[in-house]
Structure formats: structure tokens, C-alpha cells
């Protein structure tokens, strides 16, 4: 396990053309890591996330992605992700190949990936048009009952990136609250990068807590408030006002590009990014 700055970790472990999953289901979304990917101008990434959320809206609008695997692409409770829509509807700033699933399908795909099985299965997609537009959704016959069961190929990202509350000095990572499919996405990946609110002497995690042991973690960076404007339970709340405000910012290509330049590209790191937002507020 490598302990370092987010800058050097992203530089060293994320490369153009890779498949990258920044997971976190509304909670603990690794925004700081996403912004660092954006700053380092990574290109041709195959982005994977159940809910692309604002962070992928930003990466897509900033030309980092060539493909997206996802299962729900909206701004939660607000409406559209306008940069994602612009890419799909108009190919701006570049065409985006989409691999679309349901949540249940994607959860099964991550679970298979974590278990290093070739595919996941579920009773899913029944009667829907999704298999018609995503050839990855197929079916098998149950060898015992002959029932048809839907299948999805395992998702094994080159790199998974998570944000968590804490890690200890050995590199064990503690995640709590709404945990989404983070554990599955973490164990499915070849490389696992984690940003944490803080590094502590002892996690003191309850016995059945989700702890990712140090030997499955590739690298850790301490990035306080690293999930903002998403949240970290026990540290800070979700900035719902920011999610509402994003609708206006992202609606317009120029306004979006200005925002990215002003707040993300002009900041050296996440602390500066947060300062620049505070100044603008």
C-alpha cells in the first residue's frame, strides 16, 4: 500500500484509455479524485459508475471520456445531467459510447467482478428494451430448473477509486453509512485507489463494518472534504444547494467550461478548489 499525494497517485495509476470506476452511491463520491483526473487531462477513459452524478458530468464535458457504463444518469432530485445529455444527443465535446444497465444489473456485474466470475446473473430486464440496445445483457438457462435467467458480464475496472471516512496507517480502509456497491467495485478492480477524510492511528471499526484490508488497497491519499459536494457521513453533509445550482452551470457549454477553468483547472489541489468555491459564494 502506497501512501501519497492525490496528484502523484492519479499520475502514477490512471492512464489514458483505461476503464475507471469512481464509485459511491450518492454518498462518498470521490470528487477530489475526479477533479485531479480532470486536471491531469486524462483522455479516452471508459468511465464506469451506477449513477454518473455531477463528477462524470464534469469529466464527460471536459473530454476525458470515450465510453460510459451506467445505470441511472440524472442529477438526483434535480433533473438532467446536461453534459452527459449533450454528449449523447449531440456528440459534444466528443461522441460518447454508452453501455446502459439497470441498477440491479450493474450491481450483479460488480458482484461477479469482485468474485472473479465471468458473469453475474439476476432475474432482471424482463420485458424491457434494454437488452435490445445493450448486447451485453443476455440470458442463460438454469441447469436445475431450465428457467431463463438474465446475465451481465462481470465488471472488472482497470482502476476503482473510492472515497472513505478513514484509513489507518497500515492502509486498512473503513467505510460506513450508505455504502452502495463500493466494496464490490473495490474488489473487482485491478488497482484500487482510496481517498480518505483522515488517516488515523486506529480505525476502531465495529466488528461487521466494511473494512477494505490494506493488501487489496493500491494507494491512499488523505483528502479532507474529498467527497464534496457529495458527503461523508459523520464529517459533512451533502451540499444539496450545489446540486441544484449545478443544473444552471451545466446547461450551457460556455458557462460549464468557464466553471471548470475557474474552479478545477485553476486550482492546484482540492483545498484550493474548495477555497475558490468559498470565494465565489
Amino acid at each position: 500500500m502506497q501512501l501519497g499525494s492525490l496528484q502523484e497517485i492519479i499520475d502514477q495509476h490512471i492512464h489514458d484509455g483505461q476503464s475507471v470506476a469512481l464509485e459511491g452511491f450518492t454518498h462518498l463520491i470521490p470528487f477530489a479524485a475526479g477533479h485531479e483526473i480532470l486536471r491531469q487531462k486524462k483522455r479516452d477513459l471508459h468511465l464506469i459508475r451506477m449513477t454518473p452524478d455531477l463528477i462524470y458530468d464534469q469529466l464527460i464535458g471536459a473530454s476525458c471520456a470515450r465510453a460510459l457504463t451506467f445505470s441511472w444518469g440524472g442529477n438526483p432530485g434535480v433533473g438532467s445531467l446536461h453534459r452527459l445529455r449533450d454528449a449523447v444527443e449531440n456528440g459534444w465535446p466528443r461522441p460518447l459510447e454508452i453501455h446502459e444497465h439497470s441498477h440491479a444489473g450493474m450491481a450483479a456485474a460488480y458482484t461477479a467482478g469482485a468474485a472473479r466470475m465471468p458473469f453475474g446473473m439476476l432475474r432482471g430486464y424482463a420485458g424491457t428494451d434494454l437488452p435490445a440496445v445493450n448486447a451485453e445483457v443476455r440470458e442463460v438457462r438454469c441447469p436445475y430448473t431450465n428457467e431463463k435467467i438474465a446475465t451481465v458480464p462481470a465488471i472488472n475496472p482497470d482502476v476503482t477509486v473510492l472515497h472513505a471516512q478513514a484509513a489507518d496507517r497500515q492502509g486498512n480502509v473503513f467505510i460506513r453509512g450508505i455504502v452502495g456497491a463500493q466494496k464490490e467495485a473495490a474488489l473487482a478492480a485491478a488497482t484500487l485507489i482510496v481517498t480518505v477524510e483522515e488517516i488515523v492511528d486506529s480505525l476502531g471499526a465495529p466488528m461487521n463494518a466494511i473494512v477494505l484490508p490494506h493488501w487489496v488497497v493500491t494507494a491512499i491519499a488523505e483528502v479532507p472534504i474529498g467527497a464534496y459536494p457529495s458527503y461523508a457521513l459523520g464529517y459533512y453533509g451533502r451540499d444539496n444547494a450545489f446540486y441544484l445550482a449545478w443544473d444552471e452551470i451545466a446547461r450551457d457549454r460556455e458557462r460549464f467550461t468557464e466553471w471548470i477553468n475557474l474552479h478545477v483547472l485553476s486550482s492546484r489541489d482540492h483545498a484550493e478548489f474548495l477555497d475558490s468555491l468559498a470565494e465565489a459564494a
Binding site: 441498477h103 432475474r123 428494451d129 450508505i178 456497491a181 457521513l233 464529517y235 459564494a281
Partner: protein
């Protein structure tokens, strides 16, 4: 229910729709809800007549009792007030797929006469006119919940002859096709709109208008439907909102508004009682 006093209340079609949906929830109902009207309706039911409703959100919150309506499906409020928070793959496999959900509450951009739903795209999939957020949990909720309540506004744009995309199966082509395909749940049993209430008719399973709201004519509802709407022999008039229903719903929305008011970029740092507690009790 005090109809006399309630008729003095002014209310919006959206409020009537939310309240009509809430009334369908029974005490103890295990309800899988999404954000928007479904979440408002389910929480209204919890605050009025079904305090023991079990609310499940796909983010993994089971038995949650939010004080304000969540903006997202994974707001901290949902986790902090839940009986249990489980990983997301579990919600879909052990809870939904295993048939432990009484009612799945869904919205959509389009519905057809057999209750099939589109929340994926308007126009062609490859060349969309409007790309919508997509499926999320809906296809499997529609497949596995014991029954589905659909809530959406009724218009020519939403009540369509043919879906641009089928995201979630209702009765497919009707006449028992859903059962023949061995889809486990009973499908959409009620569709609540801002004009009235539709239910599938026995046999063909075509959605049929069974109730209208006061001051909404059947003709108006027909005019907001792109197919020749089937209408039941007798049409009920849904009781207008009571004063209590309106008060509780408006209080809930007000609390929610206040909770989200203010400028973006305001970091709400919380002390860490939970984390400290977790550490100190370990």
C-alpha cells in the same frame, strides 16, 4: 374525513395527486420508493395514517423515517433515520428480487395503455431527441414488487400510443402476457395522475379510468390521453384533500425547502459523534 371543510381548501392538481397516492398505502406496507412524488406520497402516508410503513430506498436504507424529503436517493437523512442500511447489491437481490416488497412506487416520462413505462429516452435510442436519466432501479422494481403504483402527470406527451422505449414492463401487450412470461409481481395495479385514477381491467389488462378528481371532467381526461381511453361504467369522484392532509403535506414540503435553502458552496461540517462513537464502542 371532513369533506365539507376540505372543499373550502384550495389545492393544486399536484397536491391532489400526491394525496391520492398516499391514501393507497396501508399500515405496515413495505414500500420501495423513488425520489419525487412517490417519496412525497409514501412519507405523507407515514405521517398521517401509516406510521409503521416500511420505507425502502434503493440506496440501501430500510425502514427509514426522514424528517424532510430527501433530494437524492442517498441523502444522509435516509441513512441516519433508518432501521438498517445494507449494501446496494443486497437491496436488489435479497430484498427486491426475493419478493419482500409489497408496493413499488414508480414514475415515468411515458406510459402506454398497458402500463408499460419509459424513463430512458424520447425519440430513437441511437439518435435521441431527449436523453432521460434511464432505468435505475425501475425495471426490477416493476418486475418483482408484489404490485406497482405508478404516479405521473397526465398529458398527450406522457400518455402515449407507443412508448419510445420500454424501460419497465407493465402488462406488455396485455391479455395475460406478463403472467405467460412468468414475471413475478402483479404489475401496475393503480395509476394515479393529476386528473384521476386508472386501473387495469380484468382480462385485457388495459388501463381504465375508474375515478376522477372533483372539477375534472372525463372529457378532459380523455383529451389528455393519446389512445382512446377506456372508461369504467361508473366513475368515482376522489374525495378532495382534507385540511389535515394538506397541512401535513405542505409542512413536509416547507421543512424540505428550508433544509435545502441557502447558497451552494456552504459546507455543513458536522461534528463526528457517530464516528467517534463507532470508534469508542469498538
Amino acid at each position: 374525513m371532513n369533506v365539507a371543510s376540505s372543499s373550502l381548501n384550495k389545492y393544486t392538481p399536484d397536491e391532489m395527486m400526491t394525496i391520492a397516492a398516499a391514501r393507497l398505502i396501508w399500515p405496515g406496507c413495505v414500500c420501495f420508493v423513488g425520489i419525487g412524488v412517490p417519496s412525497a406520497a409514501a412519507n405523507l402516508a407515514r405521517l398521517i395514517h401509516a406510521p409503521d410503513i416500511v420505507l425502502i430506498y434503493e440506496s440501501g436504507a430500510i425502514g427509514t423515517q426522514p424528517r424532510v424529503l430527501p433530494l437524492s436517493i442517498g441523502d444522509g437523512e435516509l441513512a441516519e433515520t433508518a432501521t438498517a442500511v445494507v449494501p446496494l447489491p443486497e437491496i436488489f437481490s435479497y430484498w427486491l428480487q426475493a419478493g419482500r416488497i409489497d408496493v413499488g412506487f414508480l414514475g415515468a416520462a411515458q406510459i402506454d395503455r398497458f402500463g408499460n413505462l419509459n424513463s430512458t429516452v424520447i425519440g430513437g435510442y441511437a439518435n435521441p431527441k431527449t436523453r432521460l436519466p434511464g432505468a435505475g432501479g425501475a425495471p426490477e422494481i416493476a418486475q418483482h414488487a408484489k404490485q406497482i403504483f405508478v404516479v405521473l402527470k397526465q398529458s398527450l406527451r406522457s400518455f402515449v400510443q407507443k412508448l419510445d422505449f420500454c424501460t419497465s414492463a407493465g402488462f406488455l401487450n396485455g391479455n395475460g402476457e406478463r403472467a405467460r412470461r412468468a414475471i413475478p409481481g402483479a404489475g401496475p395495479q393503480v395509476v394515479i395522475t393529476d386528473l384521476g385514477v386508472l386501473k387495469p381491467v380484468t382480462g385485457s389488462q388495459e388501463l381504465t379510468l375508474v375515478a376522477r378528481y372533483e372539477n375534472v371532467s372525463v372529457d378532459k381526461i380523455r383529451a389528455a390521453t393519446s389512445w382512446p381511453l377506456a372508461v369504467a361504467d361508473t366513475i368515482d369522484v376522489v374525495a378532495p384533500p382534507t385540511s389535515e392532509e394538506l397541512r401535513v403535506l405542505r409542512d413536509l414540503h416547507k421543512r424540505t425547502e428550508i433544509a435545502y435553502a441557502g447558497k451552494a458552496h456552504r459546507l455543513t461540517k458536522t461534528p463526528r459523534p457517530l464516528f467517534e462513537q463507532a470508534r469508542s464502542t469498538a
